[in-house]
Homo-oligomer: 146 residues x 2
């Protein structure tokens, strides 16, 4: 329709990244959505607590770059589901330490299993060298240290 320049939409990285992210999310979503009625932010919070152990909402936010209002709501839902407990920090009574309950731990482990399987399935399409490069590049793009 015009002088095509050297621009091709299907090579534009933000576009490609979003398409790939949406596609892969869709695949994994059904695990936490159907089985536990969770939202994306909820499983992220759950995974952070399961993976790194007890921490505060603020900490999760800065690690995962999620806005505090989203975390607040996710934590409320997870607490409602009895997946996390909140305990006030006695030396700074604004903060509260979040931790998984046994039920939360169980859900985490179950989902982690599926995540691992899902990840393995994705990687199977590529060589291990390619996957290593992909992870390295995505971490860089996401602003996560090595």
């Amino acid at each position: 329709m015009d002088e095509k320049d050297d621009f091709a939409l299907q090579d534009f990285l933000p576009y490609l990244l979003n398409r790939a992210a949406e596609e892969s999310s869709l695949g994994f979503q059904k695990h936490y959505k159907n089985r536990y009625g969770m939202l994306r932010t909820e499983w992220r919070v759950l995974f952070h607590l399961g993976n790194y152990g007890q921490m505060t909402a603020k900490e999760i936010g800065s690690r995962a770059k999620i806005h505090k209002t989203k975390i607040s709501r996710a934590v409320a839902k997870l607490a409602e589901k009895r997946f996390v407990t909140r305990t006030r920090d006695e030396s700074d009574r604004r903060a509260e330490h979040l931790a998984l309950t046994p039920a939360g731990e169980a859900a985490y482990k179950d989902l982690r299993e599926h995540a691992l399987e899902f990840d393995t399935q994705i990687c199977a399409r590529f060589t291990s060298g390619e996957v290593a490069i992909l992870r390295y590049m995505l971490r860089n793009l996401a602003g996560i240290e090595p």
Copy 2:
């Protein structure tokens, strides 16, 4: 906190992909948002029309994997801004062919320029071989043919 298995959240591909996608989107967003008051779906539609030429809403939807209601609303906004025209297909009066107006074309070219620059900037952090692998893998993950 527990037997860590061999699972690391920060290596989980759907997570990494989403973080990277969000980060890169944020960077490009300001161009179409601040300068043209567009939403993500709007620039995607604009880009499709600019890049591939006239087509129907249905076609954009299947190419970009965007739901028809999102497209419908994006097209309405773009038409409001006088960036696209809609012309009924005479042989199938349900469908309409969307095309850029000169103003739409101008906006597209302007944004394409910024997109290209933004993309180049991202790629500069990596070797060209790495970038080629990344694009290839993302296309695959996004379900876009080679």
